[in-house]
């Protein structure tokens, strides 16, 4: 949800329908609510309700359709346009949806995305994000939603993937199992790092080096001397590659780079990305191990 023109449908198209950021210009205004059902990780179905943001529709949501719209909500993703002229009005609408949520589905998780961050100068982004988040935190705690999570996003870089993978991860029930399996798998392969991706959207599910979004993640990154944004970058790279594969009318199964990076399907809906410590292990052993892992873990 969010005001009209804030980029809701663009986001959805990029993450779930393989649009490139450039293609989203062709999207028109969303009329009323656009529903999409997406199968995610096989047994999970996401019902994505993309609510058109023009005032006429908005008014409708809060009055006539309120019990329909706000019932059984698990996640609210509210999108704010950083360039918006009417910040007060944006927040007011956010408050109204919180009010309805409190009444109809008080257990919902709330995420806010400060979108179109690419339009703000680089050195001002952090400051702006902090100010906005403080304000939103205040408003949301008034309605009893204390743990508000916010992300600065833009469709032109990888921040969008980061935000969405954390949102989607919060919905996965057996996260703990995945994590423990992955760490076991890592020690067997003597790998440097293993990352698990969802196959169709290439959102990060979990990685072997620490939980997604936990405090220790940043510490670990420093220790390992790795790019902290690598998950999102890989998502982005692999997705572009997947798109170029469609030109050959095919999906991709395996990729082996320099005998040290292996990317392969590990189940019908997950892809694993393995970085090995040493490159001298023969390919056959690794592939065998991956085959075993397919059966055992996932």
């Amino acid at each position: 949800m969010g005001r009209s023109g804030s980029g809701k449908s663009s986001m959805r198209s990029i993450i779930f329908s393989n649009y490139s950021a450039f293609d989203t210009r062709r999207l028109g205004a969303t009329i009323d609510v656009e529903h999409s059902h997406l199968r995610f990780l096989g047994n999970m179905t996401l019902n994505l309700w993309d609510c058109g943001g023009q005032d006429v529709f908005m008014e409708n949501y809060f009055t006539k359709q309120k019990d329909h719209i706000f019932q059984m909500v698990q996640v609210l993703i509210h999108v704010f346009d950083v360039e918006s002229q009417e910040v007060i009005k944006d927040i007011e609408i956010f408050m109204r949806s919180l009010k309805q949520l409190k009444k109809y589905s008080p257990d919902a998780k709330i995420f806010v995305l400060l979108h179109k961050m690419d339009l703000v100068q680089t050195d001002k982004r952090d400051e702006l994000f902090q100010i906005m988040m403080n304000k939103l935190q205040q408003t949301s705690s008034e309605y009893g939603f204390n743990d508000l999570v916010g992300f600065p996003t833009s469709i032109w870089d990888e921040s969008l993937y980061k935000a969405w993978s954390q949102i989607v991860c919060s919905l996965i029930p057996n996260m703990k199992d995945h994590q423990t399996n992955l760490i076991k798998f890592k020690s067997i392969l003597n790998a440097y790092e293993i990352i698990l991706f969802e196959k169709s959207t290439f959102l990060v599910i979990c990685s072997s080096n620490g939980n997604m979004g936990s405090q220790s993640k940043s510490l670990l990154n420093n220790e390992l001397n790795l790019d902290p944004k690598r998950f999102e970058k890989i998502s982005n790279i692999m997705k572009t590659f997947k798109q170029s594969c469609t030109k050959l009318k095919s999906g991709f199964t395996t990729l082996i780079l320099n005998d040290s990076i292996y990317v392969t399907e590990i189940s019908s809906n997950m892809v694993c990305f393995i970085v090995l410590n040493d490159t001298d292990q023969p390919k056959e052993i690794i592939m065998e191990n991956i085959q075993k892992a397919k059966k055992e873990f996932f």
């Binding site: 990729l255 040290s260 490159t279």
Partner: protein
């Protein structure tokens, strides 16, 4: 003085055109990996600028400001035209192009008089905004008018090649590849070598890329399918990006060093991707910033043995490249000694 001599020995491409026809944008997109949308913010170019890139051949691209008057006596255009191998003239297809054609004819006349062996290439640029039918019309119109202009000047023997290009798709890379290929004297050997390679290793199509610009220096003699080219070019990007993400860690670096010491010839970047329909994309780094990208269709036979044969054949191919380069380097040295 020495720099001038250097540039004289290189195959040089001269990029010309009226102002605002998109010369700098082409340079930035092709040679600096700039996003096409960002080129909107480029300033007007004020002085000639040079791009060097050395692959199997040494290339230099020189861009001239559009508003320059080439026939001012202070400007040493005679020496300039003598030293270039190809003249690329950019015409904005979305604008009124009559002026551009007159300008082009004048330039051709001058260049041809100074240097009769010059290749003249015309890019009919910014065609992304035109419909399919209109594109063909514009191309025919421009070709016809240029022909008439040249006839009037008594230059009807000059060969002029035309390309339809846009920076928003791969057509600009395709055009530049063709232009660069005309300047490589070793091109026939390269093509023969690639033909040999693909016959013996179940390859459908093979390209020899310059990895910085994604221009292909050579390909086998099968017709080029633009989609295959796009996939291969994007595969170069994927490989480099993924490699960059993980190459920095310190321990990996140390290992790389020791590995290089252990083996007599270090394995360079290599990337293999398999697709669902049995196609394999194969990437191997060759000498001097070149990379071989090939599409392999195994058609049911054993994939692993196929790849082993491929590896072996590519090793031989690489040795061939090294020899060619050593030869051409020798030749150049001999030339400069004279």
């Amino acid at each position: 003085m020495s720099t001038e001599e250097d540039s004289a020995s290189k195959a040089m491409i001269l990029l010309m055109g009226l102002r605002r026809c998109g010369k700098s944008s082409i340079c930035k997109v092709v040679f600096h990996n700039m996003q096409p949308l960002d080129t909107l913010y480029l300033e007007s170019t004020s002085s000639p600028s040079m791009e060097h890139f050395s692959t199997l051949i040494d290339l230099a691209v020189m861009e001239l400001p559009g508003q320059l008057n080439y026939f001012e006596p202070s400007y040493d255009s005679e020496r300039l035209f003598k030293s270039v191998g190809a003249l690329v003239y950019v015409i904005d297809s979305q604008d009124e192009y009559m002026n551009a054609i007159t300008n082009l004819a004048v330039i051709i006349e001058y260049a041809y008089r100074v240097n009769p062996s010059i290749n003249i290439e015309v890019l009919i640029h910014k065609v992304d905004g035109l419909s399919e039918d209109y594109k063909v019309d514009v191309q025919r119109d421009i070709m016809q008018r240029t022909g008439e202009e040249l006839l009037e000047l008594g230059l009807d023997g000059v060969q002029v090649s035309f390309y339809l290009t846009s920076i928003f798709d791969h057509s600009i890379y395709e055009a530049f590849s063709r232009i660069v290929q005309k300047l490589i004297p070793e091109i026939t050997y390269l093509e023969n070598m690639l033909d040999n390679l693909i016959q013996h290793s179940k390859i459908e199509k093979a390209f020899l890329f310059d990895i910085n610009s994604k221009i292909y220096v050579s390909t086998d003699s099968n017709p080029v399918d633009i989609q295959t080219y796009e996939v291969c070019a994007e595969f170069v990007d994927v490989t480099l990006d993924l490699f960059d993400l993980y190459k920095t860690p310190n321990e990996n670096n140390d290992q790389a060093v020791t590995r290089k010491a252990n083996r007599e010839r270090p394995r360079e970047l290599k990337n293999i991707a398999e697709l669902e329909n049995g196609v394999t994309i194969y990437f191997r780094q060759m000498i001097r910033g070149l990379a071989l990208v090939a599409l392999i269709r195994t058609n049911g036979s054993d994939k692993d043995s196929c790849l082993t044969i491929m590896d072996y054949n590519v090793d031989i191919f690489e040795k061939g490249l090294e020899e060619i380069w050593a030869n051409s380097a020798n030749k150049q040295q001999a030339l400069s000694l004279e």
